[in-house]
Symmetry: C2
Subunit: 168 residues, 2 copies
């Protein structure tokens, strides 16, 4: 492994560097990582957000999530804050589900997943540009189990929660 990677791009969130190994160049996208939370109401509804994602040029349904880009914030606090900011709901309980590398082929991004419970009603409205969507946990779990949930963190959180026996 080349000990001195070559920096080729610095963006707002990511930066790209090239590492050489055995004569081959590998593009590596450095990413701050993130935290995401599967939040469930007392009615067994999941709180999802739908927002336009420039990377795929269309809106997609996701669990609330955010970047780990604050030096003084741990992953659990980040997940709780993003839940409150994006949906207006505050967590009552929150626990760790697991963590994963979304794409080890080209990025060091690592995502921490949490499961939370909330009250029935929000404290505030959803974030601007974000549509709040409530869906029954049983419906979403069935969708995830049959491979129909396209967002990796959302699919993994649903399948991990299912494996631990969450839900009504």
């Amino acid at each position: 492994m080349d000990p001195v990677p070559r920096h080729v791009y610095e963006g707002r969130i990511i930066r790209v560097e090239v590492r050489s190994r055995a004569g081959t160049d590998y593009d590596v996208v450095r990413h701050p990582g993130g935290a995401a939370v599967l939040a469930v109401t007392p009615e067994a509804d999941v709180l999802l957000v739908r927002q336009l994602r420039p990377a795929i040029d269309r809106p997609i349904l996701e669990i609330p999530a955010g970047l780990l880009d604050r030096p003084d914030e741990d992953a659990l606090s980040c997940a709780a804050r993003e839940l409150r900011e994006e949906t207006g709901f505050r967590h009552e309980t929150i626990e760790f589900l697991g963590g994963f590398y979304p794409s080890v082929g080209f990025t060091d991004e690592y995502v921490h997943l949490f499961a939370a419970t909330t009250a029935s009603l929000p404290e505030a409205g959803p974030e601007e540009g974000v549509e709040l969507v409530r869906r029954p946990l049983t419906d979403l779990t069935a969708a995830a189990r049959s491979g129909r949930v396209r967002d990796a963190k959302t699919a993994l959180a649903l399948l991990l929660a299912d494996a631990r026996g969450y839900g009504p």
Copy 2:
């Protein structure tokens, strides 16, 4: 959405562009996408590969996978070919499990997942630089269900196969 993204980096596999929306710049990593395969032997062992991944600077255990960068190859053929090249095993059956976006926040990468069965023995040795690892499906499924499988495509393939009742 800015109809004309600005290209900022062209790598061997990825390219990076900046899209503007509502006054904010978004870095987008264009990626060809990939295919991955959970391959199981008649002994109910999963065929995994361990290789050094420059992006995370260490080896990690993964199901065989490859890039969808050949214009004349579909995702199933790609998964079957990568299985053969990386492990030396040829598939006997192969079927679609699901597909997912690993990280919609910054990349358009999309991964197609498959489940395959193989013979007990390989036709050839594993690819250079790749260590072939056989692990019981039941052990790996238990690891995935408890959130201990770190590679997203491997965790998702195991959990999707589990949901469909694969295994002994």
